[in-house]
């Protein structure tokens, strides 16, 4: 397994964002291009209206007032009123559409992220704090909202305004126009220099935010542990350190961001001052009338506004790129375990399972977790795996569902290599009850139904009865409709196991894997459970991992696993006769209980 990331460490970013990444953003824009262009058109029309208003004032001052023409004044008022109505209609349209386009894009992006994350293997989730995955799907995407909607649309409108203004300026006086553009390279340079720093600053910020998020997430998840150890103060100090890192990174980042506007504004003013100077002094071959000069100053202002807006957008884009990089990085993580091209559906499993000299290690150069595991199971057999913790029992059953791929050898089911069939068809027929039970927030019924989404209430109850969960469920305030909270925190560990047990049974899998399924269940319930279980194991290939040997005595075949190898195998009686590791385990368990047993017989 790769080096795990913790809340303390920044995540290294492998790739830098480039034009290609920006084009990827554009892909999200594409389905809504029509809408975007429509809104942009409306925005341009609105700015045309806004530009017309000063003209109306000019008409009033130049014509209406000198002629004392009240009728014309009435007409002007009428026109302006009509324009305002028109403008506000555009406003109405724009307000809703910009949000819609932006939200649709964010929704798509979030869905893509979530869908992709679903396809990632355990190792992805195991190797980084969950808070860091969470922040990408929810928070980072949200930060893009303004940039993607109003930002993009305004940019389209701004570019348009910019070009129009430039054309008009050239038409009036091309020399003067060239002089007004003389400081433009300076502006580009300024933007370019800031951009480099800003990107770095925002990358740092996003890293720190990610760390903080991971820490908060872990703090909430581990709050009971913290309280148990009365370590609130120490946790609080670490939290403040993390929060302080974010604050420092934030201040650095905005510091650079805030420098953008002063630069642009100063260059704009210098340009205007220069236009005045050049125009009036007839500098550099310029010779213009006062009217043209005044008009030019006006245009220069108009010209700079879109430039400032573009600068701001660029600013936002840089800010976002730090988040975009993270988002794309996540989208680019290739799941290690995927369907082979042309993988076939696995036909309904009969239950023959073969491990052919399987070797497994997490990393190519790592230690062998499993070493030449070789066994062959006939359909309908029950196999038990016993052995010390960490011997590799859970790993063996994980290979069966192809949660990991073997390093050498092969795992076949009914003769099909698990790597040659679709994951979906494979896992759908496997029922795995994991060591860590997980209960979703919702009702008990919903939790059991997770095993088979279209199960009827009767089926759910039948499954619950089979695992002896029915009794305690009926004792809950609302029976099957009782709400269980996140992780089932209001249930006892044993109750959680029973619910997840019922969930697996409801799925009616062809191959059943029970990994320490009954470790927290009391003896009486377990005994009752055994009856139901015997019935369920019939005609189903099953793998059972257990420490309590009582659970597994009736298995057809028992494997004693140690250090990634099968050391002994055979039926309970055979193994006892061999007097090997299994026998010793058995004897010690028995002896431990029997130690004080004088009284019983």
């Amino acid at each position: 397994m790769a080096q795990r990331n913790t809340f303390r460490e920044d995540e290294e970013l492998e790739e830098q964002i480039n034009v290609h990444d920006l084009l990827r953003v554009a892909r999200y824009l594409k389905p809504y291009l029509g809408r975007v262009l429509r809104v942009a058109l409306v925005v341009v029309l609105m700015s045309v209206i806004a530009v017309t208003v000063p003209y109306l004032t000019k008409v009033m001052i130049d014509e209406t007032i000198p002629h004392r023409d009240l009728r014309q004044l009435g007409v002007l008022v009428g026109i302006l009123a009509a324009l305002i109505v028109l403008f506000e209609c555009g406003m109405r349209y724009r307000t809703l559409e910009i949000t819609r386009v932006g939200q649709l894009m964010l929704k798509d992006m979030r869905r893509d992220l979530f869908t992709h994350v679903q396809s990632l293997p355990f190792s992805y989730f195991d190797s980084r704090p969950h808070g860091k995955i969470l922040i990408r799907i929810v928070n980072y995407v949200n930060t893009l909202s303004d940039t993607l909607s109003s930002g993009v649309i305004n940019v389209i409108a701004d570019v348009f305004t910019f070009l129009i203004t430039l054309v008009v300026m050239f038409a009036i006086d091309w020399r003067m126009t060239l002089w007004s553009l003389v400081l433009f390279p300076l502006l580009l340079l300024w933007v370019r220099v800031l951009q480099t720093f800003q990107r770095r600053a925002y990358q740092k910020l996003s890293n720190k935010q990610s760390n903080l998020n991971a820490y908060i997430h872990e703090s909430i998840a581990g709050v009971k542990t913290t309280q148990t150890f009365a370590q609130e103060r120490a946790q609080f100090r670490t939290f403040q350190e993390q929060q302080n890192d974010v604050r420092t990174a934030w201040m650095k980042a905005v510091h650079i961001q805030f420098l953008m506007w002063p630069g642009v504004q100063t260059i704009a003013t210098m340009t205007i001052a220069f236009i005045y100077y050049a125009g009036i002094m007839g500098f550099g071959g310029v010779s213009v009338s006062t009217g043209v000069l005044i008009a030019f100053v006006g245009y220069a202002n108009n010209f700079w506004n879109p430039v400032i807006d573009l600068g701001n957008f660029y600013n936002q884009l840089i800010t976002c790129s730090a988040y975009l990089e993270r988002i794309f990085e996540t989208l680019d993580v290739r799941p290690e375990i995927t369907d082979r091209p042309g993988a076939a559906e696995l036909p309904p499993i009969k239950g023959k399972v073969d491990f052919n000299d399987v070797v497994f290690r997490y990393e190519p150069d790592g230690r062998n977790i499993l070493n030449l595991v070789d066994f062959h199971i006939e359909p309908g057999e029950t196999v038990a795996l016993v052995g010390p913790t960490g011997a590799g029992k859970t790993t063996i059953v994980s290979l069966l569902s192809r949660f990991y791929d073997v390093s050498e050898g092969s795992v076949t089911i009914d003769g099909h290599d698990v790597r040659d069939v679709t994951l979906d068809s494979l896992r759908r027929q496997m029922g795995v009850m994991l060591q860590d039970t997980f209960i979703f927030s919702g009702t008990v019924r919903e939790n059991i139904r997770y095993g088979k989404l279209d199960a009827t209430d009767e089926e759910i109850e039948a499954a619950a009865k089979a695992v002896r969960a029915h009794e305690f469920i009926m004792e809950l305030p609302d029976g099957y409709d009782s709400v269980v909270e996140e992780r089932g925190s209001t249930l006892s560990a044993g109750q959680r196991q029973l619910i997840s047990f019922a969930r697996v049974l409801l799925a009616d899998p062809r191959v059943l894997v029970l990994d320490e399924a009954t470790s927290s269940i009391d003896t009486r319930t377990e005994e009752a459970l055994q009856d139901g279980l015997r019935h369920l194991l019939k005609n189903r290939t099953s793998f059972i991992i257990a420490h309590r040997l009582s659970t597994i005595e009736n298995a057809h075949e028992i494997f004693y696993i140690d250090h990634g190898q099968i050391v002994e195998h055979g039926s309970h009686e055979e193994l006892l006769r061999q007097r090997g590791a299994y026998y010793r385990l058995y004897e010690s368990q028995y002896a431990m209980i029997r130690a004080h047993t004088g009284a019983v017989d």
Binding site: A81, L96, T99, N142, R427, F440, G451, E527, S550
Partner: protein, 618 residues
């Protein structure tokens, strides 16, 4: 415990959100005052710029004073420089102000979080708390460090420009001022409609967060059942809901924004129509109308912007409410204000009377349940524990056996005071658990919980969690070997420096349990409670652990919850729990001799263990 928080939440319960946030801002208010000075400089400079342009037109172009051109041009640049520098200054100060205030706020949230009791966490989703501590807090930061000066800008400009306009021509200014009532009515309506919408957005975001969080946590189950499509479908529901909530807000904006914007626009209409009328009637000069016009943008902008700022303000409010709910959530487990002194006193009196040496710093480990009954505060009708009455002397061993859901875990959580008994008392060293300072009680009563939670840290760091690096590596290793974890830790590639993922993913159940036991041992508690801690550990290892526990340097009261007889048989007292009631009690021998429930379980385990073929059963 409230002493640690920056602001005592009980003081501002009823006040508005602004007044509530004030104490968090207070230490940085001088910064705001300084920012305000720069803000004034910026606005003054902004007003000077048009005057300079006017001067160039009047003095240089019209009157031909070409020699002044250079100086005026330089002045324009200088004024701009002053302006941008002052603006940069106040923006940075306001940003710092917002960051500092939020730092204090979020610290309080974090602190509060750790004061809340199990009941709260059992019913509050992680994603929900997450979104309060991240997005909602960020909305407040945005409100403090951006919306604040935008509002100030609008108000100052509006009032300032209107005042200047009154000086120029009171009639026209009065006509313009007529929009104020409409402005007031519209913004009020917008605000009241937007408020619930923002609140709904925040809630929807919290739901989305929780859903994704749960999905990530449960990724193993999702994969095991191939429920990815189902999860994606569920996600889409939340994703869509969040979008729809945002659209609802946009619909509300669509309803009000055009009117507010039109109101701003109508100022130009009034100036044009009424101003033109006045000039034509001869009641106003043309020059006045022109200068009036040049100030128009200063009042028209704020009116047009008002709607968006109201939206920002409501977002701020919605987030405030969510955070305030977290901060004012009441914990049922509260330390007595005089806990330290009273316990100290109680211990010293006890020492004098009994002659035993004792300190209030170290708990001896005596546990006494006095007719304790308990029901969860949120389900008062269902008693979980019924009239428990037992006594465990310091340094002895208690074993608890019982069916799934019989109340075993609840029982032990009363000892560390994670819940308070509904009736009766739990005494630790003869003192009511409610009277102990919480820190002290919990640091010495250690529950090794059923769900083992490990932090994403090194194994060594996890074991040393309770000691915070106060003990050396040797100590950590010693504790690990007592808990039977040393062997497997050493076999890992990086030994004690191996980083375990959040919740210890990557380790087997038995390994996690042993790590959490080692962590509890390193904390050196006076009362060690093992809640089914060895269920996933094989029996041989378990026996070794029990053997090691007896060799510990300091005497500990050990409470063991288990299903296996072998785990509890050596206890000095064994309680058998059924439906929250003690149905049997005694030592292993007594209970076996009694031929009751314990005997039955014992026989079953023995019988099942040995197999009937061996002839040990019936």
């Amino acid at each position: 415990m409230c002493a640690h928080m920056y602001v005592d939440q009980t003081r501002n319960l009823k006040s508005g959100n602004l007044k509530w946030i004030m104490p968090y801002c207070r230490p940085d208010l001088p910064r705001v005052a300084a920012a305000f000075v720069l803000f004034c400089v910026n606005n003054t400079m902004a007003m000077i710029m048009p005057l300079l342009s006017g001067l160039i037109v009047d003095r240089v172009i019209t009157q031909g004073h070409v020699s002044e051109l250079m100086r005026l041009c330089v002045m324009m640049v200088v004024v701009t420089l002053v302006r941008v520098i002052s603006r940069y200054g106040y923006q940075m100060w306001m940003e710092r102000f917002g960051q500092n205030s939020v730092f204090r706020l979020v610290s309080d949230e974090y602190e509060k979080l750790h004061q809340l009791d199990f009941t709260y966490f059992n019913h509050t989703r992680t994603g929900d708390i997450m979104s309060r501590m991240t997005s909602d807090t960020d909305a407040i930061r945005h409100g403090l460090s951006w919306v604040s000066y935008q509002v100030a800008d609008c108000v100052v400009m509006f009032i300032g420009a209107l005042a200047v306009m009154f000086v120029i021509d009171w009639r026209l200014a009065l006509a313009l001022a007529c929009v104020t009532p409409f402005l007031f009515v519209l913004t009020r309506a917008l605000a009241s409609h937007a408020h619930p919408l923002f609140f709904a957005i925040r809630n929807s975001l919290a739901d989305l967060n929780s859903m994704v969080e749960e999905n990530i946590e449960g990724n193993r189950v999702v994969k095991a059942f191939v429920r990815e499509p189902y999860e994606i479908e569920r996600f889409e529901e939340h994703n869509d809901d969040y979008m729809q909530r945002n659209m609802k807000l946009a619909m509300n904006s669509r309803r009000y924004m055009p009117w507010l914007d039109g109101l701003g626009f109508s100022l130009q209409l009034i100036t044009l129509g009424f101003g033109g009328f006045l000039v034509i009637r001869g009641d106003m000069t043309l020059g006045n109308l022109v200068s009036f016009n040049s100030f128009l943008w200063m009042i028209d902008g704020p009116v047009r912007q008002s709607g968006w700022l109201i939206n920002d303000w409501q977002r701020f409010n919605a987030s405030c409410i969510k955070i305030r709910r977290l901060l004012t959530a009441t914990s049922r487990i509260v330390e007595r204000p005089d806990a330290k002194e009273s316990v100290h006193q109680a211990v010293s009196i006890h020492t004098q009377v009994s002659g035993e040496a004792a300190t209030s710093e170290r708990i001896k480990g005596e546990i006494h349940f006095e007719h304790v009954s308990f029901a969860f505060p949120d389900e008062p009708e269902t008693p979980v524990l019924k009239d428990l009455d037992f006594f465990v002397p310091a340094g002895s061993k208690l074993g608890i056996l019982g069916e799934t859901g019989a109340g075993k875990s609840t029982l032990v959580s009363l000892i560390a005071r994670f819940y308070d008994p509904t009736y009766g008392r739990v005494l630790v060293d003869g003192i009511d658990a409610r009277d102990w300072p919480l820190d002290m009680l919990r640091s010495q009563v250690n529950v090794v919980a059923q769900d083992t939670f490990l932090f994403s840290d090194t194994i060594g760091g996890n074991i040393g969690f309770g000691t915070r690096g106060g003990r050396g590596d040797h100590f950590i290793q010693h504790m690990a070997s007592i808990a039977g974890a040393d062997d497997f830790i050493r076999s890992m590639p990086e030994g004690y420096d191996t980083i375990v993922g959040e919740r210890g993913v990557g380790l087997s159940g038995g390994q996690k349990q042993r790590l959490s036991l080692a962590r509890a041992l390193a904390d050196d508690p006076a009362i060690l409670i093992m809640d089914d801690t060895t269920s996933a550990v094989d029996m041989e290892t378990e026996a070794e652990i029990q053997h090691h526990l007896q060799e510990l340097d300091t005497a500990k009261t050990i409470v063991t919850i288990a299903h296996r007889i072998s785990s509890v048989k050596d206890a000095d007292l064994i309680l058998v729990l059924e439906h929250g009631r003690i149905v049997e009690r005694g030592t292993h021998e007594e209970l076996v001799a009694a031929h009751g429930r314990y005997w039955e379980i014992y026989r079953k385990q023995l019988g099942l263990q040995s197999g009937q073929s061996q002839g040990y059963g019936e």
